[in-house]
Symmetry: D2
């Protein structure tokens, strides 16, 4: 094994004595060196969460054998668990409409090497993003809504995503609502940015809503997409101050900076496999 | 006139050429020295707002004559306007229930000299605050709800406020809803602190709501009380970061610090006559 | 005059009765409509500051005549003053080295229309930025340091800036120190971004310094460049939270987002003529 | 053992395979239930840090025997380690001068039950705090500087602290510098609040320094006191926005709110045994 190969194990289960000891022993007894470990217990529901990272260097179990070897322990403690191997580059698709600031921001961070993934393609219902996407050497697909049936369009999009082996979909200010059918193909794998501090100002034109309400801070929220609009598990939020002097255009300008930062954090954490979803909330491991 | 006596003039009107010049001339031509001036124009509705402060030292019009002398100009420009004289100490009443952190905070800031007012009395539906209020030399009135008719209780409270010439009512975590009748006695003169980032989590138990929704920031909002609960003009808001590690008790602890700061800013600005209400929003002058 | 043409007047002077009235009258009596006005008085030094914006639509003095007509009033009150006409597009040059995130950010905001200026050229001591600059249709000039005399290089750069009529120089992570001679050509017209919360961590490798000191927040500062390194008037600052978990690389990643926002705000405010420098500090008008 | 009795183990050591497994096993094999565990590795120096909390309910080793039983493991891994038992109420002394806002804030939080400690006494070089301290039923000791020798005063203070079995000293805006001798009695057990964003504006009158420098944010820093003034390990920092409109008095007013919050967080984390000091930096466990 390459010295830099690692595995991330994410666990949730009913809290019980001995979990940490048993898991840590499993890794240690097979020669693994734990590089990072983080635990959380929800005392309301007595649920235990863990993210543990160890080096595969000199680990005596081959990667493909780990699930098999780990299964008995997982069964003993009724674990829900997932394994991710690093380094890896999951395939990512970005959906965008006409507002391109989040797309640009993601592409620049991608080029800087912040995201360990492959941005394979960008899908849009408009052509505005085409030039810039292609200048980054990324495929661009145009799906105009026009008079076409939404189901048909989504069917083609899903085929495209499957063909490219897409694991994660990022909605970078994508202004169409995805169907339940589409969403079910990517459970906890569609990340949206909503330009308000949810649950305030869900739905359309949140900056306008915020402006009319006279709030003193505006926000942005990244969340996993579920079938209920703007109601999925929140990954990250941030706010910035506004005043009566700020016009609606100022709200939009200030908000864009938030949107970019909040969405990029969400994707970063997702790719680092730091997020567990639980009761429509997220545990974000350090 | 004492060198430190000043007057604050607050104006709103349809925007028109010449307002600033005419108002500034009115002051200058009578020997006033403008110490502070702040303007704002809402271009959506073409409305002009102004707060202007000048020294009464060597001002040739006596304070009580100013309204009369200013009236023609006000009429010419269809001004809505208010005058406030400084220094002055408006009478303030605080309403509180069992959570005392905001009350304590207000009393300490008051003792430090932050607030130019007289905190004349504290009203509560519980006895918890009595000792601390009296230790500051302030009157305490206990109005248990019990089996009494709310209208009767409010009638007595209103009589008490009138008797003490109360101008401003601060709801420092007062957990009862005031009637429309009560509120109409104090238009834009009742300041509430709500322990959420409004309009998110209006109503009861906002920290619990925020905890269940899994937000990543919690907030506090001070606003003027109107007859629609938690919907009045927002004066100030702030937020603080929370994570999955924070229990509901942590939300409450962190939120208390916000509540204290946000409420104290609102009262400070109100007393400095920096707030104009307009279309259920506030203009907060510098 | 075009309906959208405006003039911005920036004033500083010893505080005296009548300034606002006289200036507002000057504008009103010649038919100008004041669109925005903001004042500030520094009571420590008794200095008055003002920024006033009025429409040239129906203003009876021609733009080029305004200085002449305003001169007597300016003399009477010993005003320091500047006039700027809008819309206008001052020529801007960006200097950059190998870190390109601020450059990219400026170019994207520029393309979005946030900055009312012309970014005429980019100068760098490295070639890294060349491709991206040219893709935005902007000229790129490469000035390697190599064995060349700094004075000679700067002489050529100054000639280039003069030739392109450059008014404002933005140092977007430019890692070379400009000579006093260079700086004197652009008084209060060179904007730098320093990647720390100045005055903490001035000089080289501020993230490294911050990391070693174990701070819990990192910052970024935009300021006007003066002959004393990292000591010019601060225009804007912001901070973001870090923890023991953040490596030096994390400091850099988080800091980049700050740098972009802080530098872009500084340029925006400069272009909107909202900044007055006074005693090595800035007044930032609303 | 009472169901609520717990032990906190804090560890630092050179990073090596098996530490987590061995420590977790030690606890598990003796019947302990781990309630919380947090690890950190400093990859620059290859140092491992851990904080692990387990319940003593049904733990088979008696508290006073734990150190003895744990010693072999600690030796094997060259651990630096500390044990703390909960619930416990370490004795705390507060030092204060004339600025009382932090003192008041600590006392109120103490009364609310935020701090698991005993505030045994308050020491001051002024009498201002006497009344309020006594009203909380806490002893007050007055040590005027006058013409007395500092060494003599500190000797008496140290005797008093020893007599009251004081473990932690909080400097709540204490304006005298403690001698090296004094500090050595309380290594990493004296918590100071400095009213600036350190390392900016160390030393005297930080708000004045910040005001003169024209910063756009002010800060507060809590840190452990070391023999070098304002240079000890930083525990917590925060900042708040200021503008040219803020007078020095406004800086002070805004800063006070920061100081209170930042100092209270530091004491809270110290009492929860969440802080490890390492290379003049702090690891703050979750």
């Amino acid at each position: 094994m390459d010295k830099k190969e690692k595995v991330v194990l994410l666990i949730s289960c009913p809290d019980r004595k001995g979990i940490i000891a048993k898991v840590a022993n499993f890794i240690y007894s097979h020669g693994g060196n734990i590089e990072h470990s983080d635990e959380h217990t929800d005392f309301e529901t007595n649920t235990f969460f863990m993210r543990i990272v160890w080096s595969l260097h000199r680990f005596k179990i081959k990667p493909q054998q780990i699930p098999h070897k780990f299964a008995p322990l997982a069964k003993e403690f009724s674990l829900k668990w997932r394994l991710h191997f690093f380094p890896s580059r999951p395939q990512v698709a970005i959906f965008v409409s006409r507002q391109l600031h989040c797309l640009y921001d993601l592409l620049l961070r991608y080029e800087e090497g912040q995201f360990h993934c492959n941005i394979s393609l960008v899908i849009s219902n408009h052509k505005d993003a085409e030039k810039i996407v292609k200048s980054f050497g990324i495929k661009f697909f145009y799906f105009p809504l026009g008079k076409r049936n939404v189901q048909d369009v989504e069917k083609e999009e899903l085929a495209l995503l499957e063909e490219h082996n897409i694991e994660i979909v990022v909605l970078a200010r994508y202004m169409r609502i995805l169907s339940s059918n589409f969403i079910k193909h990517f459970p906890q794998r569609i990340i949206n940015i909503h330009h308000s501090f949810l649950p305030a100002f869900a739905g359309a034109r949140p900056y306008r809503q915020a402006y009319l309400r006279g709030v003193k801070l505006i926000g942005a929220t990244s969340h996993y997409v579920t079938t209920e609009v703007d109601s999925g598990p929140i990954i990250e939020q941030d706010t910035v101050r506004v005043s009566h002097r700020d016009s609606l255009a100022d709200f939009v300008r200030k908000g864009k900076d938030l949107e970019k930062i909040v969405l990029s954090r969400a994707l970063l954490w997702h790719l680092e496999r730091k997020i567990l979803v639980y009761r429509n909330k997220t545990v974000i491991f350090d």
